[in-house]
Each structure stands twice: as structure tokens, then as C-alpha cells.
């Protein structure tokens, strides 16, 4: 694979609240390679948004704390960077798209000004030059009549169009890393498809790496090259998109995939992961998923599983991969997927 652009190692993040310390991120490691799309999936509270906010150093300063770990970007540790250094990185080298296109644009500024702002600030462009570039960007993200649209305000745009503008702003300085935090969740399915296609298209042109956060496995299957599955503040499985969807190893991944209904068959009962996500105020001893895991073993309640290597690109944190562990049968539709994988997917 190509060069690593972002390396995150042993990251621990806590929030201090009235109730006590919430250990939102409990030791995660992952790398982001040049030009790839890494999707981070997980339920709400699994820590996926916290992880990416920490990369941008956008966590609230009053109650959050990066306890330990490194986020290496271009030989610099972002965890140690000063606010001034971060301001140079944000929007220029790493930029972010948020979930809600309605609130991520400033309602009192024209679209044009908002796109030109990072260009003037980071690339020291002249105003007229920035305007030319802004027009080009609007055209690039598929907004018709950019010369008219550039003078308009956010409320004159529809949700999908706003998200396109947000993408244009994020890509203005051709960042090395683009973090997309559920960028299509607030949009309708048909618009979602358009935005996903647009992002893939632009990624090729600008050659940026994307970290794509979502809880929708369908979206993941569409955009991702690699997938990291998060649960209870940890990465439980990471691999290429085919490995995760056709040869998943972690029972949580099994559950996630199985609990989505498939369109072809009218199955009788949906597969259900019982119970609710763990309370990170008092994370359980052992594997955080154990209480909801039908395949749980005694060791799951005692000790956290290490990351086991499945292939060069595929790792999973479950005791089921220990050589002494009994062979278990994954849910039926996972087995079907695995058979497909064994036949050689490519």
C-alpha cells in the first residue's frame, strides 16, 4: 500500500462530567494511507466522532482530555501542537465536513465569501484570484450557475446543495486529509447517492485521503476502501471493505451486518444484537461487547482481547481468534457471505 499520511497510536480520550470520567476513547490505533477512504463505523457513543474531532483538535477544551497517545501527521504530533499551529493545519491540510449542512454554514455570509475565506487565509490568494477559484470549486461540486450562486446566502440553497457547498469549502485548499462526519445522514437517500458519488469523484481529482464516519453500512460499502468498526471506545475490527463485509471475524460486526434487512428475501426475524451499548462511565471488565455477545466465553468477561491478525490488512479483537477458542458458527447470512469470500471475491 501507499504511504501513511496519518498515524494514530494508543489514543485515550476522556470527558469529565458531573457524573464522573467518561472514557470515550480507550486506546485506539489506526493508520490512514494516501488517497484511500477509511470508513469508521459504530453506534452512537462508540467514539467515532470523538476520534475525528481529536484529529482536528476540536474537542471542547473545558471538559475533555487527551489522556495519552499520538496523532502523527507529517512528522508532527497533533496532540502536542499549539492552537496556532492547529489553525494552520485546519482547513488547509486537514478539513472537515459536518453532518448538518443547515448549521455548518454561516447564515449571514454569502456562499462566495465562505469559500474564499480559507483560500485567502491559507493560500494568501488575492481576492480576485480567490473568487475565480471559488467559481471553479462550485462548478466542480456540481452547482449550476456558479456565477449567480456565489452571491447568494445559505438559506437560498436546498439541503443537498448546501452540503455541496460545504464540500467545496472543505476542499478549497486541496487538503491532504478530509474528515467527513456523517456527511449524508441528514440528507434524503437520492441526494445522499449524489453526494457520495461526488465525493468519490473529487477524491480522485484532488487525491485526498478521506476518513468517513457513518453508522450506515450501506454507505460504507459504497465509499470505503478500508473499514474500522468501533465499539465502546475501541476499534474491534479493521480491514479492507471486502474483508469486513464478506469475511467478518468479530461477533459485533456479524451482528451489525446481520441486523440490516436484505432486499431480496423476506426473512422471518431480523437478527438482533441484544441489550444496549456499554456505559463508558464504568466500562465493563474484559471485552466491552461481552454482555451482548451470544458467543461470549468466560475469558471475555475477564480480559480484553488483543488484536488478532487475520490477514495483512485485516485485524480483529476477539478471543474467538485465539487458537484455543472453540469453533463457532456465525449467523447464517454471515456464513453465506463467507462462502462468497472463500470463492474469491475481487
Amino acid at each position: 500500500m501507499s504511504k501513511k499520511i496519518l498515524e494514530i497510536s494508543d489514543l485515550h480520550i476522556s470527558f469529565h462530567t458531573f457524573a464522573g470520567e467518561i472514557k470515550a476513547i480507550r486506546g485506539i490505533d489506526f493508520d490512514l494511507y494516501e488517497g484511500e477512504t477509511l470508513a469508521i463505523v459504530g453506534e452512537s457513543g462508540s467514539g467515532k466522532s470523538v476520534t475525528t474531532k481529536s484529529i482536528m483538535r476540536l474537542l471542547p477544551t473545558n471538559n475533555s482530555e487527551i489522556k495519552s497517545g499520538k496523532i502523527m501527521f507529517k512528522d508532527k504530533d497533533i496532540v502536542q501542537a499549539s492552537e496556532k499551529e492547529m489553525q494552520k493545519i485546519r482547513g488547509k491540510d486537514i478539513s472537515m465536513i459536518f453532518q448538518d449542512p443547515m448549521t455548518s454554514l454561516n447564515p449571514t455570509m454569502t456562499i462566495g465569501k465562505q469559500i474564499m475565506e480559507p483560500l485567502i487565509k491559507h493560500q494568501k490568494m488575492h481576492k480576485s484570484e480567490a473568487k475565480k477559484r471559488a467559481l471553479k470549486l462550485l462548478d466542480l461540486v456540481g452547482i449550476p450557475k456558479p456565477d449567480i450562486r456565489i452571491k447568494q446566502y445559505p438559506h437560498q440553497f436546498s439541503g443537498g446543495m448546501r452540503q455541496r457547498v460545504v464540500i467545496a469549502i472543505a476542499l478549497a485548499c486541496a487538503p491532504k486529509v478530509l474528515i467527513a462526519d456523517e456527511p449524508t445522514t441528514a440528507l434524503d437517500v437520492t441526494i445522499q447517492g449524489q453526494i457520495l458519488d461526488l465525493m468519490k469523484e473529487l477524491q480522485k481529482q484532488i487525491e485526498t485521503s478521506i476518513i468517513f464516519i457513518t453508522h450506515d453500512l450501506g454507505v460504507v460499502a459504497n465509499v470505503a476502501d478500508r473499514v474500522a468498526v468501533m465499539y465502546g471506545g475501541k476499534i474491534v475490527e479493521v480491514g479492507t471493505v471486502d474483508e469486513i463485509f464478506y469475511n467478518p471475524q468479530h461477533p459485533y460486526t456479524w451482528g451489525l451486518i446481520s441486523s440490516m434487512p436484505s432486499l431480496d428475501e423476506k426473512n422471518n426475524e431480523l437478527y438482533v444484537i441484544p441489550g444496549t451499548p456499554p456505559d463508558l462511565l464504568n466500562p465493563p471488565k474484559g471485552d466491552a461487547f461481552a454482555p451482548r455477545n451470544p458467543y461470549a466465553m468466560k475469558i471475555d468477561l475477564e480480559k480484553e482481547p488483543p488484536m488478532y491478525k487475520v490477514s495483512d490488512t485485516h485485524y480483529a479483537a476477539t478471543w474467538l481468534l485465539h487458537p484455543n477458542a472453540p469453533k463457532v458458527e456465525p449467523p447464517e447470512n454471515i456464513q453465506a457471505r463467507m462462502r462468497k469470500f472463500a470463492k474469491g471475491v475481487k
Binding site: 460499502a221 423476506k266 426475524e269 438482533v272
Partner: protein, 314 residues
């Protein structure tokens, strides 16, 4: 399933907001459909297409601008005595979208679930009331001890189940589920959908299931209606709709559902819908027409012939 008895008939229902003003919004614009006893009718469409408004108008949270809603032959929107209204409120119930906003944060779960019991005086004593609540809690898979807690102590999925228990408390026949799973995580969605299916079997309930997640709607519904800008554009048996979508909007909607299948996703082709593509001529009557038995499409006469021709070749 004997789909003979009509439970609910919606006839030319209209719901306009700011009527007569320049900013008039035709949220629901002349839609007609029936719901049969024991079935689940799915209603899908994009945000702002009027699907939630339809649900809320049916249960009389809004007064309809025009048209009628007949529940077992009784018009819901006519003037009614309090006792008649009470009966309707008991027969028809609603489950809401946002598990955080749909439970009063200042009430204990006990009182939340018992609200319907209190309003309709269904319990003779306090003891009976709390027994009913505990029974309901167990029905939705929560434990008795939860009765004395406040909503903010529960997770999203648990809250949604409390909302379901509240609706069940009055023993309804018909439940409008207004996007009951859109705000939940994937693994929790399955829990709630399974629960709804189980309740339907056990209590022979009828559902109007409103959602924008088409794969879940397909899973839970017997028939599906597709809405677009206040109009119902297609209504069919769910299998039929997925296999033979006819209206171009339905096609675009179906082609956009993301599936957890990377191989399929790589070869995905999206259709886009252009409302101008119909090119209706002046004087052409555009309405719901039955293309094949049980499959209705909003179209002109010319289109109908076309659809029928295409259906046979399919």
C-alpha cells in the same frame, strides 16, 4: 392474510398550511388509500414530502383542509362528542420519531406509560394501574424495576420501547408509527422492528409505518405507498413495488438505497428523477390508476398504457 376488511379509508385527503397566503404549503395534496385490517402499510418518501403530515392528519393532530378519513366507516374529522373522540383515541395510536422528545422528561416511566390508562380510566385502583404498567413494560422487553426511573436514564432504544408501551396501554387496533426507527442505531433498529412485528402478531395490530429507510420499510410492510411532494405516486404490494417499480420517482428512490454489499455497490447505477420528464399535456387527467391488480401509479392515461406494456415484458 384476509385483506378484505377495510380498517381505514383515506379519501382525497388534503392538508394545506397557510392556506390562501402566498406561502401556502400543500403538505398533503389529495391522496387516497385504504388500510386493511391486520396489514402494515409502509409510507416512504423524502423529507418534506408530507408523509409525517399524512400520519398526523389521520390521527387528527391537524385538522384536514379537505377530504375525509374513515375509521371503520366513521369519519375521524367530523365534529364529535367527547365520548366518541375517546373511543377513536383508544383505537388509534401513534409512535413517534424522536425517542428523546417524545417522552416528558419530568415524568416517571410509570406515569408516562399510564397516561392513556389515566385518561381513559382503564384501571380501577392504583394497584391495578401499576400491574398494567409492569405488564406493558415486560411486553416491550423492559423490566419491572424501570417503572420508577426517569426517561433520561434510558438509552434511545429503550425510550422508543417505552413510547411503544405508552401507545399499547389503551389497547389500540391501529398504530401509526411515524419514523419510529430513524433516530436509532442500526443494531437497535432491528430490536424495535422485531418488537413491532411480534406485537402485530400477538395483538393483531394494523400499522401505518412511515419511514424514509426503504430497506426497513420493505422488510416490515405488506404494501408500500410512495409519496412525492404531497402526492401519492405509487402504491403496491411491497414485493411487487421492489420488483416492478413503475413511476420514475420510485425507480430513482429504489436505485438509491445503499446496501451493505460492496460488490453490488461498485456496480450500482443511480436513476435520477426529473419531474419534467412526464410532459403532461394540458387537459390530461393525471390520477392514481390501477396498472395491474393492486398496483396503483399516479399517471396519465398515456403513461398507463406504457406502464402496462412494460409490466408485461418484465
Amino acid at each position: 392474510m384476509a385483506q378484505t376488511e377495510k380498517l381505514l379509508e383515506v379519501k382525497h385527503l388534503k392538508q394545506y398550511f397557510n392556506q390562501g397566503k402566498p406561502n401556502e404549503v400543500r403538505a398533503v395534496d389529495d391522496i387516497t388509500f385504504d388500510i386493511y385490517k391486520g396489514e402494515t402499510l409502509g409510507l416512504v418518501g423524502e423529507s418534506g414530502c408530507g408523509k409525517s403530515t399524512t400520519g398526523r392528519t389521520i390521527i387528527r393532530l391537524y385538522d384536514a383542509t379537505g377530504g375525509s378519513v374513515l375509521y371503520r366507516g366513521v369519519n375521524v374529522h367530523e365534529k364529535k362528542s367527547t365520548s366518541q373522540l375517546k373511543v377513536l383515541h383508544q383505537k388509534m395510536q401513534m409512535i413517534f420519531q424522536d425517542p428523546y422528545a417524545s417522552l416528558n422528561p419530568r415524568m416517571k416511566v410509570n406515569d408516562l406509560i399510564a397516561e392513556g390508562i389515566d385518561i381513559h380510566n382503564l384501571a380501577k385502583s392504583n394497584q391495578e394501574r401499576s400491574e398494567m404498567v409492569q405488564h406493558l413494560l415486560e411486553t416491550v422487553g423492559l423490566s419491572r424495576d424501570h417503572a420508577n426511573r426517569f426517561p433520561h436514564e434510558f438509552s434511545g432504544g429503550q425510550r422508543q420501547r417505552i413510547g411503544i408501551a405508552r401507545a399499547l396501554a389503551v389497547n389500540p387496533e391501529f398504530i401509526i408509527a411515524d419514523e419510529p426507527i430513524s433516530a436509532l442505531d442500526v443494531s437497535i433498529q432491528a430490536q424495535v422492528v422485531n418488537l413491532l412485528k411480534k406485537l402485530q402478531r400477538d395483538k393483531s395490530l394494523t400499522y401505518l409505518f412511515i419511514a424514509h429507510d426503504l430497506s426497513m420499510v420493505k422488510y416490515i410492510s405488506d404494501r408500500i405507498g410512495v409519496m412525492y411532494f404531497g402526492k401519492l405516486v405509487e402504491l403496491a404490494n411491497s414485493e411487487d413495488l421492489y420488483r416492478n417499480p413503475m413511476h420514475p420517482y420510485t425507480k430513482s428512490l429504489l436505485s438509491a438505497i445503499p446496501l451493505p454489499d460492496p460488490i453490488y455497490e461498485r456496480s450500482r447505477k443511480r436513476h435520477t428523477y426529473d419531474p419534467g420528464s412526464h410532459q403532461y399535456e394540458a387537459g390530461e387527467e393525471v390520477k392514481m390508476r390501477e396498472i395491474v391488480p393492486g398496483h396503483y401509479v399516479y399517471c396519465s392515461e398515456k403513461e398507463m398504457e406504457q406502464y402496462q406494456a412494460n409490466y408485461i415484458t418484465n
